[in-house]
């Protein structure tokens, strides 16, 4: 059961085992965050852990276990596409959550969207007014 750490194989196995366990713990952390955090925006913060760092660690574990070089480009492609697509869904979900008031305003330290929303609302009101804003 106890491996001998004389060759590089055992070390690679140990590193990939650590990667796998830590990558799995990222998922557990996301689940705990989903259950414990109070509102949508803080839950989104927890939900990104397994999507980026967890996936990176697990893909690195695959690359270490396979002991080949040709598998690494495919793993990099998988991770790059995850990095490209996760912000899109996070942006859409966060914007929709802001719009539908699924957030606790007292927990925010800064609300940079507030000014933009106010300005757009004022502009829309000016356009809707009967004299065309003049």
């Amino acid at each position: 059961m106890i491996p001998d750490f004389s060759g590089p194989d055992a070390w690679i196995d140990a590193v990939s085992a650590v990667f796998m366990v830590v990558g799995a713990l990222m998922s557990l952390g996301a689940a705990i965050g989903l259950l414990r955090f109070p509102d949508l925006l803080s839950r989104m913060h927890a939900a990104t852990k397994p999507q980026v760092l967890g996936l990176f660690l697990l893909l690195a574990a695959i690359g270490l276990q396979m002991r080949t070089w040709w598998v690494w480009p495919v793993l990099v492609v998988a991770w790059i596409f995850q990095l490209l697509t996760v912000p899109v869904s996070a942006h859409m979900v966060g914007r929709a959550g802001y719009r539908t008031k699924h957030l606790h305003r007292e927990l925010l330290t800064a609300d940079e969207l507030e000014a933009v929303v106010q300005k757009a609302a004022a502009e829309a009101a000016r356009k809707d007014s009967p004299d065309g804003g003049r």
Partner: protein, 92 residues
């Protein structure tokens, strides 16, 4: 050593999936459920990766790549629907 890792990660992933499913069932809003479904998809991809790494095969690699490419479409679609329903509160 790999079998110990497999058992430990199986337990961790099971707990994580249970937490995500609880949030899907309980979530106060639709967006919470979408977010938990995203996490559940990430947990599924992670489990596929663990399977490949422990058993040293690459049968699921294309599935992982496909999940990472198109996995965001579902949550974007649902978020779009939520935005469309609430964007004009004075209509009708």
């Amino acid at each position: 050593m790999m079998h110990v890792v497999l058992a430990v990660t199986a337990v961790i992933f099971s707990l994580a999936a249970a937490g995500a499913i609880i949030r899907i069932a309980r979530g106060p809003s639709l967006l919470d459920r979408v977010l938990a479904a995203d996490v559940l998809l990430a947990i599924l991809g992670g489990a596929l990766c663990i399977d490949m790494a422990v058993n040293r095969h690459l049968n699921n690699l294309m599935l992982v790549v496909a999940i990472s490419i198109i996995g965001f479409i579902g949550s974007v679609t649902v978020a779009r629907f939520v935005a469309d329903r609430r964007v004009k509160p004075n209509d009708s």
